[in-house]
Symmetry: C2
Subunit: 442 residues, 2 copies
């Protein structure tokens, strides 16, 4: 496809984004139910396409990625269940979130509206397409999808279902969901900052970092997850063991797994015991010189030297550092962390309060695993992603991250010249005859 | 000042941003009251410094800008009143906005936290410093200020008061408010996307556009305000007259003044009368050929040719176009507008509904002047700015635009391995023994 025709696809998406907010709750529920039914009816087509993708990639992809790429009937059933649940959920569009009377007969409402054109760029997992498209449809947005080449045929099979849905339900603008195939399409999409309102990258740190570096469009996501646990002087050791082992070993490849353990110097004796247990579970230890000495004294093994406290292992490996106080732990986390998820293990109220006041991260845990930081576990239903950006949406993000606001002011011929001037240097054209009431109605 | 020392100032700001969220409501109230008292006590110093600025600039600045630059006792009194009101207002930091039980003993809170380091770049008006600084302090943020050179001495006099305040109240980190003087400082600040979290430009369109084009830091603001009013077939003519004249002539220099009037073709007869009245008030008309013919027929004068419907006059000038329907008006607004503020004048429910469903702007008005789109008039107390961005904050923005969120999860040794896997391809380490309750507590 040449560049012009690809830009036209994006222009059509922007046009569709002007129509989508007006879809009724019923229309969207109908569309989502039909989408789920069609996916289920076409599951054999999907599985055949997926088998061809798997067969082509089996020699080049590592086993973990092949597992992500693979669809099966169980995964499809779970997908359909999720889409049907969303069909029945409350409509997130045009919810009135604030209402204020500015003056008699002059009422201001703040309501939710969709963001517009959202580009979602993802790797191997083909189930991202139905998941994201159902969220996009429910929220009245428009999607530009760029999937991984590994899942090409499976992705096309899902998009065929979307085309059939569009033909059945004529109220859906055809361009509400479009797939891009080529790697060069990503660069083209990222340049369209007049037409694309938000980019959501789902994939490796390298993918997210590369996208953040080359676009002016706001990006919802996180490049890295260098999460910490601080083992406070007062912590309960049984809690420390449970939580550190869960946070490090339960699924080490994900962004909310812990990468650095900070230990109060008064707990060094028990640290030896914990390091033993981590070693038993195959966790490699990297530490400062005192941790290295302790490790050697306890396990008769050499620990790695923690040269870079920014490291995200994404694997069975852990940096360990001894600190003198909760403030030293906070300073370490704010300096070396990625502001994703950081926790304290403590029984002391003052330590907890200092930690909560001082740590600048999207999620802070207290006596709980960092691995909880996730949209499903946080009860958001579906997760759009986890954001470490400080604006718009931060931490695990559900459908509300796909919404923005709009003010609607309804009057009866009200004019500004009737009111006293604001203090921004303006003057009323004549003597003010009216006053604002600013009465909250919600 | 060399580059290194200026970067160090920004690093100190980032360090101060880690301390500010922990200030108590009482500390902030004390600081704001003392700030107001000090400004009032030092008003003679401020007025003297301002007189020297005015004297230096009187030959180079146009009268309107000189008026903006000028301080007087009345303006200072209003400023102090605003700061004292803010001192007594509710603390916006660490408000719990959501609370959900994930499981017994495992409670998630979503709370407000400051954004961090906020760069405010503004032109002539020196009263921006105390206004913005009081909002920054109340919201627990940190400010990097870059004022116009015209107000240099007045700005320095305000910053001297801030230094005295910092010396009195040792709980304030010295770097919470810093002023930059040189134009080259702006470029330096805009490059620090690791240290600066938000940029708020307050000034001309050219200033805002230039800033948006050269930074990766999120920008809160709007480059242009091409606002529309659509005169629907069903509108009440008296309302049309009042609202159009207010929206165009009450203060034409500002971003929420109307720039284009779209008129339903059935109302052309009365349009002549309105054009007459606008002409009486000194408004120049630019139109398509039918408007030009009408104008000539009615006023025996030549109207300008509206060649570019994107034009923001910021002056007593108005583009006028005849349209065949509300859909044509909506299409014109979405295509040529700046998504700032656009309104409809109508008595027809269906027209109103179509307009509200179709117009993609931060504020939509119905039978009211576009000039109401302003933080003070919208009842937000203080206005940070008006944003046309689709994410974070949209439309007039109050203190809430300076806040972000943080999740706090408090448990008692809770680990993820005890629960069923989420549907993101993860598997639990062992048979799940617990279930999420996801019970909303707020």
């Amino acid at each position: 496809m040449n560049k012009d025709s690809r830009v036209r696809k994006i222009e059509k998406a922007a046009a569709a984004a002007l129509v989508m907010p007006a879809l009724s709750a019923d229309q969207k529920a109908t569309a989502l139910s039909s989408f789920a039914d069609r996916i289920w009816r076409k599951k054999d087509n999907l599985l055949q396409a997926n088998a061809r993708d798997l067969n082509r990639e089996k020699k080049s992809l590592p086993a973990a990625l092949l597992a992500r790429l693979k669809l099966d009937e169980g995964k499809i059933a779970t997908l359909c269940e999720g889409i049907r649940a969303l069909a029945n959920a409350e409509d997130p569009v045009h919810r009135v979130i604030d209402r204020i009377e500015l003056d008699q007969g002059l009422v201001l409402e703040k309501r939710t509206v969709p963001i517009g054109v959202i580009a979602v760029i993802f790797e191997s997992r083909p189930d991202v397409i139905p998941q994201i498209l159902s969220l996009i449809l429910k929220s009245g947005n428009v999607a530009l999808l760029k999937g991984g080449r590994e899942a090409r045929l499976t992705n096309l099979a899902f998009m065929k279902i979307v085309s059939e849905l569009n033909r059945e339900l004529r109220f859906l603008p055809g361009a509400w969901a479009q797939l891009f195939i080529e790697r060069s399409d990503v660069d083209l999409i990222l340049k369209q900052n007049k037409l694309v309102n938000l980019v959501i990258p789902r994939g490796s740190n390298a993918l997210v970092q590369a996208i953040m570096n080359k676009t002016k469009i706001p990006v919802l996501g996180h490049a890295d997850g260098v999460c910490h646990l601080y083992w406070d002087e007062s912590a309960d050791f049984a809690t420390v063991r449970r939580v550190v082992i869960d946070a490090k070993t339960q699924y080490p490849a994900v962004c909310n797994a812990v990468e650095t353990l900070l230990v109060h110097r008064s707990r060094v004796a028990e640290l030896g015991e914990l390091l033993h247990e981590l070693d038993n579970r195959g966790v490699k230890i990297f530490g400062d010189s005192s941790v290295q000495r302790l490790y050697h004294a306890t396990l008769k093994k050499k620990a790695g030297r923690a040269g870079n406290w920014h490291t995200e292992y994404g694997d069975l490996a852990l940096s360990v550092r001894i600190v003198a106080s909760v403030s030293e732990a906070i300073a370490h986390i704010n300096r070396f962390g990625s502001h994703h998820t950081d926790g304290i293990l403590t029984r002391d109220l003052k330590s907890k309060q200092s930690f909560l006041a001082g740590v600048d991260s999207a999620t802070i845990t207290v006596n709980a695993s960092t691995r909880f930081a996730d949209g499903y576990r946080f009860g958001m239903g579906a997760e759009v992603g986890i954001s470490t950006s400080k604006i718009h949406a931060r931490g695990p993000v559900g459908v509300e991250g796909l919404m923005t606001n709009q003010f609607v002011l309804v009057g009866d011929g009200h004019i500004v010249g009737d009111y006293v001037a604001t203090n921004d240097g303006e003057m009323p054209a004549r003597k003010p005859v009216r006053k604002f009431t600013h009465r909250r109605l919600i």
